[in-house]
């Protein structure tokens, strides 16, 4: 009986936590070598026309305040350490959204001597938004899908192509 009540309490707390997380995703934007096309689209997403504050999205300056890391561009060898550092500075639970073809696979810069590849070569990525550059609607769609998955508890395992390179999050699974 006691155990049952404990479980109930735990369930309610978990539901409240998930509700709060889904409804208040604060984002930080990092450009690890993009051509700025995707960055301009992300800025367009934050303008009054699309108004991300409807979903509770706020662009934060500090990684310490953010829940979602929005990455654009391929990871250049120079930006790699900085990207990992930004990711590690974010408190758990944290999610990564890769925006644009280059962030997905390296795109036009694939195979360059100075390019590591897509974001998932370095960080565990939770959502991918394709496009070169993706429209603001696509970015909002990607974000909403991430939040829905978080809400349903169907968050897919973050994909990392090179597990040796990737920085695992503390719990192993950020969801």
């Amino acid at each position: 009986m006691q155990n049952n009540q404990g479980n109930l309490w735990q369930n309610v707390m978990d539901q409240v936590k998930t509700w709060a997380r889904v409804n208040s995703p604060w984002a930080i934007h990092f450009n690890s070598g993009s051509c700025n096309g995707c960055d301009i689209e992300i800025l367009a997403t934050l303008t009054p026309r699309y108004d991300m504050e409807r979903f509770g999205v706020k662009l934060q300056g500090s990684p310490r305040h953010a829940d979602i890391l929005i990455c654009t561009g391929p990871v250049t060898r120079q930006a790699r350490e900085r990207l990992i550092r930004i990711y590690e500075q974010m408190p758990e639970p944290k999610f990564v959204v890769a925006v644009g073809s280059c962030a997905l696979s390296g795109g036009a810069f694939q195979g360059c001597y100075n390019v590591e590849g897509g974001i998932d070569q370095v960080l565990p990525v939770n959502a991918y938004v394709p496009g070169c550059p993706p429209r603001p609607e696509a970015i909002i769609d990607g974000l909403v899908k991430l939040l829905q998955a978080l809400d349903n508890g169907t968050m897919p395992e973050p994909i990392t192509l090179k597990p040796g390179v990737a920085v695992p999050s503390k719990s192993g699974n950020p969801a």
């Binding site: 709060a20 208040s24 504050e53 409807r54 509770g56 662009l59 300056g61 500090s62 408190p91 758990e92």
Partner: protein, 307 residues
Amino acid sequence: MNTLTTIITLLIFPGGLCLLLLGLAYEWVDRKLVARLQNRVGPRWFQPLADTIKLLAKEEVVPENVQARLFTVLPVIALAGALTSALYVPLFGLKPAYSFEGDLIVAIYLLSLLTLCTGLAGANTYNRFSLIGATRTLTQLFSYEAPFLLALFGPAIVAGSWKISEIAGYAESHWLVLTQPVGFIVALIGLMGKLELPPFDAPEAETEIVAGALTEYSGRGLALFHLGKGVELVVGLTLVAAFYLGGVANPLAFFVKTLVILLGLAGLQALFTRLRIEQTVGLWWRYGALLVLVQFLALIVWEGWVA
């Protein structure tokens, strides 16, 4: 029975829980109004609540090279200061929970505690953005505090009392915004400076210095600072409404008058761009302090000769 009433007063109504929720509600009204003025849809009604719960449930990172105990305790002191100051103001149009001669000064001091704690929190962390933010927070504190104080002392001089409840009682029969318009404007803008709202948000300018003094705060600490700011917003609005807009004798008057002031604040936020820190200081000391000082002297002379 008496103890029970005291506990309810402190923890649930009008202090404590109700005050926190009211702070969150007013924060939402503020954000929604600014959003509508910018032709946006704006946040949903539960947004500040969701933000707070999420922050409370998040990991709290204590960075390297900080005094860990101070880092943990500062947000608590900040929130406690704001909550304590609320005990001396007529919230919800009710009588203040506690009242004594000179509580106006104590309440204003307790309101400043939040800013002081923010400054200390920034100076405590080993981060250049926090340090710049802390410097700017404290610089701004020194620039708006004196004019804001003088603007609230104007009604006190006229009412002949340092007790918030007596000043509010006097203000119910005299709309001091008509007789002391300069004081009202300075108090209003002082409140914006206190809350670091947009024209005066140089201390937390996210386009220059990341997030100012609170850059290194995550999770619980950040949530407590946010809550403290919400409470401070309510207390500040109540003070200005009670002193200048004909008092807050009943709950209806309280909500109508504070929300009207909040509408004004939102309009100013949407209208002006950020001032640089030296422009803020210049504005306060060159115009704000001077104007309110002239009015203050005029009031003293008037009181001395007529009354």
